[in-house]
Subunit: 319 residues, 2 copies
Amino acid sequence: MNFNINILGTGGTRPLHNRYLTSVLIEYHGESFLFDCGEATQMSLRKQKISWQKIKMICITHLHADHITGLLGIVMLMAQSGNTRKEPLTIIGPIGIKKYLETNIELLRVHKNYDIIYKEIIINKTESILYEDKKKRIEYIKLKHSIDCVGYLFIEKNKPGKFDTQKAESLNIPKGPIRKKLQEGHEVILNEKKILPSDILGEPQKGLKFAYITDTAYSEELSTHIKNFNLVIIESTFKNELKEEAKKKLHLTAKLAAKITKKAKVHQTGLIHFSERYTLNKDLFELLDEAKQEYPNGEIFLTKDGMRLKANKDKFIIK
Amino acid sequence: MNFNINILGTGGTRPLHNRYLTSVLIEYHGESFLFDCGEATQMSLRKQKISWQKIKMICITHLHADHITGLLGIVMLMAQSGNTRKEPLTIIGPIGIKKYLETNIELLRVHKNYDIIYKEIIINKTESILYEDKKKRIEYIKLKHSIDCVGYLFIEKNKPGKFDTQKAESLNIPKGPIRKKLQEGHEVILNEKKILPSDILGEPQKGLKFAYITDTAYSEELSTHIKNFNLVIIESTFKNELKEEAKKKLHLTAKLAAKITKKAKVHQTGLIHFSERYTLNKDLFELLDEAKQEYPNGEIFLTKDGMRLKANKDKFIIK
């Protein structure tokens, strides 16, 4: 349960009885982060027995109904059931998200016993880092859709290597604050000798980089933001035969999604946000094939409602 | 397909992955009437392969989220998919419904290619008959909930008896406008002799009376509005052991629901709007038992997502 990516839904436009709308939830060391929340997302969340009270932040890509109209339901779920929530909920999204939710809370006189902190994004003005703590940060990137729309990057910081007690003993480093300082990555002077953190720490472990990208038209620039990312979940609304429709509607084909992640040398690419016309496996596998043809050396897969990806060293394992 | 009652959902408060929110759709001679529309109702509608373009009217009982937040999704479904809708959609509900929906249409910039006609109910002021045509009428009744809330009556008018051609011949009634007049229920004078419709028409068939009642506390008066109704779908949120909670939250227990329909001599009673705590059959059957104990001579049943009741002469048959 340290770092999981849960796929709550994979469809576009409308929720279907056998496919929820595109939504992803990250569990990270006991805290959860929800990305998008269309109609019925709460049903998928509960079907997968995910704790909604652990959700610290909800990040909305854009204010189209299929990405947002389940928000009120989740906000009410947090207020009315399970343990009473004490922690505030942070909601991030393009400007307008606060007005949307607060208006609905008022119109339907929703009772809420916790605070909501809004962080509204004004694209190109709001600083790209939206959240940061010791272990991770969340950034937004601008997407190209019919209204303001952003993708989200969830970037785990590099983890310092393991403290090597034997080495520390051999260098006569006393237990206590000096060891702590080294562990935290600072060099120290001991008996007039400089000691570097790398002298007593093992190899640092690279943090994992994850991106959630939907809805967007193709853009050259997109790849620059996800260079060498470990996992990118990216919209793949249409087959290549509908590339003109994709262009017109500012969406991606599976082929274009793979073109973006190939250019960025992304390790794992998960396709998501499938058009309502593709519910049969036959069609979904065609989408996958088109993406694989574009990026044969990449690890590309179809996401699926209920899929869970578990971080394991330098990659995510599908459970 | 002449007169069906489709149960789209049976739960209260929140949609569950295995139980949609309480919603009922009447199919009547090619037109449909939807009652309540909480989050995810469109999923159930489509799961049951019901045509959303045939929905002529949506009647909302009250402005609590679990009865209304799926409305926008259905409105969008009608606009964006299937054949382009030409007919306007009528939306009926307590005052505030127009503001709720129009605000959301505006906030999310929803594109809509047909008209919505709103009929807002001001309880005790708005005339009880909301809609009427040759075959049926829809009325509202006041319920007792924490906000303005109404139940709906769908009353089929009595159907004239079959035209008896043999009798008409024996009375020398010529084919054409005179027969038509009699068929429509008017008496005629033929060769200075008065002929009554009953002379040439068989036994008239009584129309069926249906009511949809949720959410409400117990009230003596309720029974007076549904006297001898053929079918009443009525909320049954709690077991009797939670009767105090039912009272506090202005809901019914199964026992009280049956008390109301018993007093009104309702023929068939369908229980609906079950608390989220009752998902096991064991619990649902307890609700049913409590209702049956209260009204042992009534025909009482649990409604279920996907259930279809088909009008057959003087009653509804569960399909």
